[in-house]
Amino acid sequence: MSTPQTKIRVLIAKPGLDGHDRGAKVVARALRDAGMEVIYTGLRQTPEMIAEAALQEDVDVVGLSILSGAHMALAPRVLELLEANGQEDVKVFLGGIIPDEDIPQLQKLGVSGIYGPGTSTLDIVKDIRKIVQ
């Protein structure tokens, strides 16, 4: 009989200037209910702030919620900074309004999962568990 203590740690961040954080909060809540520890950073984060928080919190996953259309600038920058900090093993997930034609490019850059409106939170939980374990 023993008690394992390791938890999946996820940073949920909203980079850029849009103020729509309902989606980010719904996902944060769903991950919490799946037994993960979710660090929520709040609105209007720069990629630098997000990478810094990911480092200090030593997270396994960074979830970005972007509804401003700036994902092609923000997501690659976050990936770049994570790598520069020695956290290339951290997985980046993306949620929000992401046009289909951008998805292949984002995947190529290293985004592990992309979730548009209507995604089941259970799918997100399943994907995170699969990729972290």
Binding site: M1, Q5, K7, R9
Partner: protein, 344 residues
Amino acid sequence: MSVQDLLAGNRLALARTLSEIENESPEGKRALNELFPHTGQARLIGVTGAPGTGKSTLVNHLAYLYRHPLQGHPPGDVEPQSVGIVAVDPSSPFSGGAVLGDRVRMRDLAGDAGVFVRSMASRGSLGGLARATWGLVQALDAAGYDIVIVETVGAGQAEVDIARLAHTTVVIEAPGLGDDIQAIKAGILEIADILVVNKADRPGAENTARALRGMLELAAPGKRFLQNHAQVMPLPLPPGILATEDNAWEAPIVQTIATTGTGIPLLAEEITRHQAYLQTSGDLIHKEKIRLKTEMDDLLERALVSRWRESITIETYQTMLDKLVERKISPQQAVQILIDGENL
């Protein structure tokens, strides 16, 4: 990544070590052993109070002030101090998950290499801290942070573990949370070295401060005088209280508005004053002793429980549980049998 990297100031090494300590892994335990000789340098400040009283916002401004000291505030700290922050939020009792939201209020500290903020979930602990909070504080102390601020879970009345961890405990109250009966209850108010009435721009702040002041006047023995017909006479000490309380610390009450930073320099000043008091009164050594004793006792308890767990199979435990549910044995009898290892 090693303890050496951490001591050399590598932030990723620090972050990873904090995780190992939090997960109570063998690497984490080893790191704590290696770090321990490097600890004991940081000033430890605890911040506690009910949910929504403004703990995180206040920690944000306090840390910012230590990073950017104003003229004369806090006194003695003319150089910017590096600040480590451990912010604890509750874990879900059902899923074990958590949403840690203290960083939301700490955005003024982003991008400052002299600040390290770590959120942690309470993981089932009830005293306002997580089991591993002490270890995380040790690591930040060893990593060279001048000041380590620990923010507890939103605490109501009895979450007082912080008082055994911090040198200076700041208890935050806000107007409108209770009357003067709340102020004379035992528990969280008693552990305050400094009391803060936050949201001082709200109606009722003065009443809250007055209720707290009334409570303190009842509490601090040997320092108060009864004024009667212009005659001043010291009140007799209650039994059990040492008579050497002439220089005893009396918790000051500071009114703040954390969202704007109003009152924060005054709070920092009181913290400095309290820490100087700890030095001169000898209370610091006393507090250190209590702190280390608490940690050792906790570890001992955990080690005994986990040793016992290893000695028992899940089947034995389950059988005992079944008998308990069928009311064939009482909980006390079950414990007796489980501890003595008697066969069923």
